[in-house]
């Protein structure tokens, strides 16, 4: 019983750990690859910058939700 009640907590912690690693790599990549280009756009083409900014945010939101859902599903499958 005790083991069963600890399982969701363990899964959540594991999911967070994997997610944190993915996010750390992603943030590093995004900041390094996009920062100069975005800064350039922000300085020279504000209209394009606005479009790129909102698109990036929407794509990232959907992508991250997909990753968390997948991680949760994958870890549950592995624990069965």
């Amino acid at each position: 019983m005790k083991k069963t009640s600890r399982r969701p907590l363990f899964l959540a912690a594991l999911e967070l750990a994997v997610y944190a690693a993915v996010v750390a790599a992603y943030v590093f990549l995004v900041l390094h690859l996009l920062s100069d280009w975005l800064k350039q756009l922000w300085s020279d083409r504000r209209d394009v910058y606005a479009f790129v900014a909102i698109s990036l945010m929407i794509v990232q939101a959907i992508g991250l939700e997909g990753i968390t859902s997948f991680l949760l599903w994958f870890l549950r499958q592995r624990r069965r």
Binding site: V30, A50, F51, A53, I54, M57, I58, Q60, A61, I62
Partner: protein
């Protein structure tokens, strides 16, 4: 870490952790979380005009995640959201124009900060008072209730507004409202949009309580619908502010990585609480935001 667009140095872990906390609160209370995100960014040294735009951008992403969860829980009234979007966008545009005028004519940080403090404190006190009265009502059910059922100790405004017969009238069956004037819904959303454009964020801290206290929408539906509506209004506000150079999208993207997980947790938590409990728990949050802004204004800390 240096963010070249706004020219500030902020620790990305600070942004991710703040995003996570704001995500949990936003998903649970149906707000963008700008009453905390804005002071958090301001305290980190971001200039106030960047705070307003960047906060909006981060809210778009977080609200997409939370709204998808609320949709699955049946907490979104799509008809109400569709009507409110019109008023919100008009109001948001007015708010953005006011910010631009202030940038030329006055100390924008001081004006936005002072207005934020007054608005946040007022909402906080009213929510605390009303939900406390509701929780003390005799016969207040202890168990869970369906999302369309809610109890309010102070329903004078919502009853009066629902009695207004200014055509065209619309029905909101998902929210349990047989008839309400379209103008009343548009007015509430216009005021919410105005604050969204002016103070930043999705203005859920204004709109969610307004939907409950002025329109009589059940709290759970107000939470879900507000988040859905915030996606559209905050997207519009983000584009407008980005065109004026007030968005550091790199900061918003980093914050959103934490908010994405938090928002899912917050949205799932709403199914375990009743409306008055959600409103009572919501009450101290805007006050907290007001205190942080006041602290920022006093110290004027910039990295």
């Amino acid at each position: 870490m240096f963010f070249p667009i706004s020219g500030v140095q902020i620790d990305p872990v600070y942004l991710i952790v703040c995003g996570f906390v704001i995500g949990v609160l936003g998903g649970f209370f149906g707000v963008g979380g700008s009453f905390l995100a804005a002071p958090t960014l301001f305290a980190a040294g971001l200039p106030m005009n960047f705070v307003v735009g960047t906060d909006l951008a981060h809210i778009v992403g977080k609200s997409i995640v939370a709204a998808r969860k609320h949709r699955a829980l049946g907490n979104i009234d799509l008809k109400l959201a569709a009507v409110m979007v019109i008023g919100t966008i008009a109001g948001s545009e007015m708010g953005v124009q006011i910010i631009e005028l202030l940038k030329k004519a006055a100390d924008v940080t001081l004006v936005v900060g002072l207005v934020s403090i007054i608005v946040f404190t007022g909402i906080s006190l009213f929510s605390a008072w009303e939900s406390w009265l509701t929780l003390r009502l005799p016969g207040n059910p202890k168990g869970g209730l369906p999302a369309t059922k809610d109890t309010l100790a102070f329903d004078f405004f919502s009853k009066s507004i629902q009695r207004l017969k200014i055509p065209p009238m619309i029905s909101l069956p998902h929210s349990g409202i047989a008839s309400i004037s379209l103008w009343a819904v548009l007015f509430v959303s216009l005021v919410g949009g105005l604050f969204s454009g002016f103070l930043g964020g999705g203005a859920g801290y204004i709109r969610m309580p307004s939907m409950v206290y002025l329109l009589g929408i059940p709290t759970h539906i107000a939470v879900g619908t507000d988040l859905f509506e915030i996606i559209i209004s905050a997207s519009y506000g983000t584009v407008r502010h980005a065109m004026n150079g007030n968005v550091d999208i790199l900061i918003a993207l980093v914050m959103q990585t934490g908010a994405s997980v938090g928002a899912q947790i917050g949205a799932n938590l709403t199914q375990y609480f009743r409306g008055p409990h959600i409103r009572f728990a919501f009450a101290p949050l805007p006050l907290l935001g007001a205190i942080v802004i006041a602290y920022g204004l006093i110290t004027r800390h910039h990295a």
